[in-house]
Symmetry: C2
Subunit: 400 residues, 2 copies
């Protein structure tokens, strides 16, 4: 079902988002157009000040203002339309004010396409030692040098405004998904912080997304969705998943949450990026994803194929003259053999990490394109069925 078109930008479709010049004049910074739905799956375009994001989209993670091992030009050539960076890491090093003085995060990392920064909430609750939460915010020590810092909604919005990403996130508290009592307390704080983030946010060229929390508890998720929707954010994230719950719990939580989100706003599932998960979550109406999986897996020698993954360190590849995936059009598969990649990993050569990262991102970004095309063609259900019949799970230990 075609819902809308966006005629003013149609002429720019053949220009990659990251290559579009910064507009001279913009009357509307953000727009989300849904081109088609197929079941719950949606194909759309999210327009941002740095270009458009065809959805469903997967954002490679550039934690420290670099997608590990790759240049921004390689990300552009891979067809990445959105990159994520971590406010927590950049706040600690090199510092958000420094990046602002240097012209903002886009200029700093030389990526001219759409950028998203997360709020640092997840990192504070997963990485930082000695954290103490109170109603007003969270105090923690840096994992880099042990120095003490404090994040409040206002601090985190100021930090993200200094960085200048196109999409920014509310500060949230991430709880153990199975701990109902903790989730109730954390959710109240997350909602209060979302309201304060919204009040503190000033830059009109940034879209501030709310983050639905509530663990695996449908009532809490529903309460969170209703509360955040009442605050009228331009987009909604679903957080607190892919953090230890089962696949069934994750998908059931989506089933209980997504229908409560407005159809005219993008829906972003944080931290999910296994190939099967991407397909199953697109089927449930998710538009945006980010995950370290393809890049971290690559650096560990795990290479994505259509049926799952292979471990390039395995001795069976030492003499294999073929590519990772026959017919794959990525630079790695066009130029190098499995035998050479095996050698690079055994010899601990950095080029191996690069070539593996290029391949894995290529596979995931092509998967997103295939899903979008299937939704536009109205064939998503059969695509989903054949993909899930073919592709093995990647392994839960590497999902985040």
């Amino acid at each position: 079902m075609v819902i809308a078109a966006h005629p003013s930008r149609d002429g720019l479709r053949d220009v990659h988002p990251s290559r579009l010049p910064r507009p001279l004049l913009t009357t509307m910074y953000f727009a989300f157009t849904l081109h088609a739905t197929d079941g719950q799956a949606r194909a759309g375009t999210f327009y941002t000040p740095h270009g458009e994001i065809p959805t469903p989209a997967f954002a490679p993670v550039g934690t420290q203002a670099t997608v590990k091992t790759l240049t921004p030009d390689e990300l552009h050539d891979l067809g990445a339309s959105l990159i994520l960076a971590n406010t927590y890491h950049l706040y600690l090093r090199p510092g958000v004010e420094r990046i602002a003085r240097l012209g903002g995060l886009h200029r700093f990392m030389a990526w001219q396409g759409p950028l998203l920064t997360d709020s640092g909430g997840f990192q504070v609750f997963s990485l930082a030692p000695l954290r103490r939460v109170d109603a007003d915010g969270v105090t923690f020590r840096s994992h880099v040098d042990g120095s003490e810092h404090r994040f409040t909604p206002e601090v985190i919005i100021a930090a993200q405004e200094a960085l200048g990403a196109d999409i920014i996130m509310c500060l949230d508290e991430c709880a153990d998904p199975h701990d109902r009592a903790y989730n109730e307390v954390a959710l109240a704080r997350t909602h209060a912080w979302a309201e304060r983030c919204r009040a503190a946010h000033r830059r009109r060229d940034q879209a501030l997304f709310g983050i639905v929390q509530g663990g695996i508890f449908p009532e809490l998720r529903a309460e969170s969705a209703r509360t955040l929707v009442s605050l009228d954010f331009p987009g909604y994230a679903i957080g607190g998943l892919s953090v230890g719950e089962t696949k069934e719990e994750m998908l059931a939580t989506l089933d209980a949450t997504v229908p409560l989100l407005p159809a005219d706003r993008p829906r972003y599932l944080m931290g999910v990026g296994g190939p099967r998960d991407l397909v199953e979550c697109v089927a449930r109406g998710i538009d945006l994803f980010d995950c370290v999986l393809p890049t971290r897996l690559a650096r560990n020698g795990g290479l994505l194929t259509r049926t799952g993954r292979l471990n390039i360190r395995n001795a069976r590849f030492a003499d294999d003259p073929g590519p990772i995936v026959p017919g794959c059009t990525c630079y790695t598969c066009r130029r190098f053999s499995l035998a050479y990649l095996h050698h690079l990993f055994k010899a601990q050569e950095i080029l191996g990490l690069r070539l593996a990262t290029l391949h894995n991102l290529h596979v995931l970004l092509r998967l997103m394109e295939e899903m979008r095309a299937a939704i536009l063609a109205g064939t998503f259900a059969s695509f989903q069925a054949s993909f899930l019949a073919e592709c093995q799970p990647i392994g839960a230990d590497l999902e985040r």
Copy 2:
């Protein structure tokens, strides 16, 4: 003084050597043409089965069949015309017969331009534990897994024929440059091994170079040059320098050696690559160089400039929005600030190693081009004087 031209290849000058197709038919595999000399400095072209090498030339080092952090396409775009790989390392891992089965070293590492393999002599004498030399060869243990191996002239030629580089080297024994007694004994072995290498070598599409040894002793160097020249190699290397002797000793040794080498063969100084050294050795008639300096220095955060080097980890770069070298046309300087590079190194990001390597190789390869142009223009003496007045030494600790 223009000595000769090479009319049959002139039409291919605008095609980069690594992009030339493998010839369908070749009646002459190698040729060395000297276009001009200026003082002792020479500008020439060395023609190989995989393309031409404009000289003087610097070969980036790809020890384990990869110039660390870079792809072959990046090396091509940098203008590299010759890459070196290490027989010692490839013999141990992944094995030379494996590379031969996979189509040879060019195909294995996807570099279609001229390749050089060294004989492993230097690595056995600098890296391998428990080595025992005798008249017939050298027995040693692998630095990778401790296994025992034996290199003889015949083994080393067979290994280099299996790899298939365009330029291959005789097995030599590397002695302490100041130890006269050891150099006399080692030199006798090196000469006997050179003769055996020459007798064992069969592939006509590979040029086998002899290696002049003899430490810092002019009489031994002269004896070595005369002995090897009598064996009529298509090119001559000077080994055993840049291994602990002073700059003055190195240059005096070149002065005592180079005039004894035939003018119509390329002269290759092994393991030298500091910017000042390159200029001073080109001035003494050297045509080819290799060195890990630019790439190793880069990975340690040392970035080459016209006046020496800077350490990107230095705090003074944390807020610097400018490039490493104003006006530098390398990818790194065109796209990224010193502040970003500083951040990448502080945050231990692999992209920093890549960008530093690209810049340093760009600087050295442009220096070689400038020297060639100056020789062709007859202005090398003034180029040399102004360069040496401007550029500081890089630091002997990093020269190899």
